[in-house]
């Protein structure tokens, strides 16, 4: 087994793929092929996960049925963090390698990230009111997640505030990268500070402290939310590519065929 040769072949294949994907036209074709499959996978996974959370998982001995909010609250929160890191990574790739497609991805990820952050906060409040007796507390987890929402909104607002597309892309990239420090703060907030919000039960270096009858639907919902993100991201990125490349031959040919 010639491992160096195999490794090099894989590396070159990945590099060729990324090089082709830098072409908006190739990305458009790939996205168009992937979207229906991702959409189907999303519908099945999310449907099964929500069904499991609402019908199959047993009630909690302390919280009764109210804990079921976990099946939308936790996946939303996980997505809010994942999408920010994704956005910051694309921003860095754009800044370092001048890859326009990375800018498209970062730009279109922001509203999705903001949506999930908003959902995490609101579903959290709806869970907190019956359980903690309050809609809101300025504890570390909630406050840092609220700041994450402001960061997302800031990135979105900055994009529309700057006329020139190239400058806007660079400025938003810097803001996204600077803000990524908030993500580990959010994650570790429940360990570093005395918090109202409960500590980590799953994302820790130990066995999850949640029973599998609840954990399994939760993980399925989380995967469903991930698939949903990539489906809608590709849909948005595809539109953005059409708009940015509107003066090119392949776009006019595509539009005239309709």
């Amino acid at each position: 087994m010639n491992y160096p040769y195999m490794l090099r072949s894989v590396y070159e294949a990945v590099w060729r793929f990324l090089y082709r994907m830098a072409s908006p036209r190739h990305f458009y074709r790939l996205a168009s092929r992937l979207i229906p499959w991702l959409a189907a996978a999303t519908a099945l996974t999310l449907g099964y996960g929500l069904y499991g959370g609402l019908f199959v998982a047993p009630p909690d001995y302390q919280q009764g049925e109210s804990y079921r909010i976990i099946f939308v609250h936790v996946p939303s929160a996980w997505m809010s963090l994942f999408i920010y890191v994704f956005m910051a990574t694309c921003a860095a790739i754009h800044l370092i390698w001048q890859m326009k497609l990375a800018d498209v991805m970062a730009m279109q990820a922001a509203p999705l990230g903001a949506s999930f952050t908003f959902l995490a906060l609101v579903t959290g409040s709806l869970w907190g009111k019956p359980m903690w007796g309050t809609w809101w507390a300025w504890d570390a987890r909630l406050t840092s997640e609220l700041i994450l929402l402001f960061l997302y909104l800031g990135v979105i607002a900055l994009r529309s505030a700057i006329e020139d597309q190239r400058t806007a892309g660079r400025a938003c990239a810097v803001l996204a990268i600077v803000g990524v420090v908030n993500v580990p703060i959010i994650h570790y907030s429940v360990e570093w500070w005395a918090s109202l919000h409960q500590g980590p039960t799953i994302t820790k270096f130990d066995k999850p402290s949640m029973h599998s009858s609840m954990l399994v639907p939760l993980l399925i919902c989380a995967i469903g939310f991930q698939l949903y993100f990539f489906t809608t991201l590709l849909m948005r990125a595809r539109n953005e590519v059409l708009e940015r490349e509107r003066n090119s031959a392949w776009v006019s040919e595509l539009a005239s065929r309709r």
């Binding site: 929500l50 609402l54 009630p59 009764g64 049925e65 109210s66 079921r68 909010i69 939308v72 609250h73 939303s76 509203p111 999705l112 949506s115 908003f118 959902l119 609101v122 579903t123 709806l126 869970w127 009111k129 019956p130 949903y228 489906t231 809608t232 849909m235 948005r236 595809r238 539109n239 059409l242 708009e243 509107r246 003066n247 776009v251 006019s252 595509l254 539009a255 005239s256 309709r258």
Partner: protein
């Protein structure tokens, strides 16, 4: 005219499911809002794509007819 039934008075297993152990006022808005946001984020790019392609087709037709700044480039 019969007695009007509120959502909290539906009996049976369906009633229990909708009541969510008394927490219906919290659980259902949480799921409802989530589905609403997810739906909006799916519908928006679909609508945008249609309008975008229509606009691009119109501009392309005008360009071929020599009526835009890009014609005869």
């Amino acid at each position: 005219m019969g007695k009007r039934i509120g959502i909290t008075e539906i009996g049976g297993p369906m009633g229990e499911f909708l009541a969510m152990g008394g927490y219906a006022a919290y659980v259902w808005p949480a799921f409802g809002l989530t589905l609403l946001v997810l739906a909006v984020n799916v519908v928006a790019p679909i609508v945008k794509r249609r309008t975008l392609l229509k606009r691009l087709a119109r501009i392309d037709k005008l360009t071929r007819a020599g009526k835009t700044a890009r014609s005869n480039r």
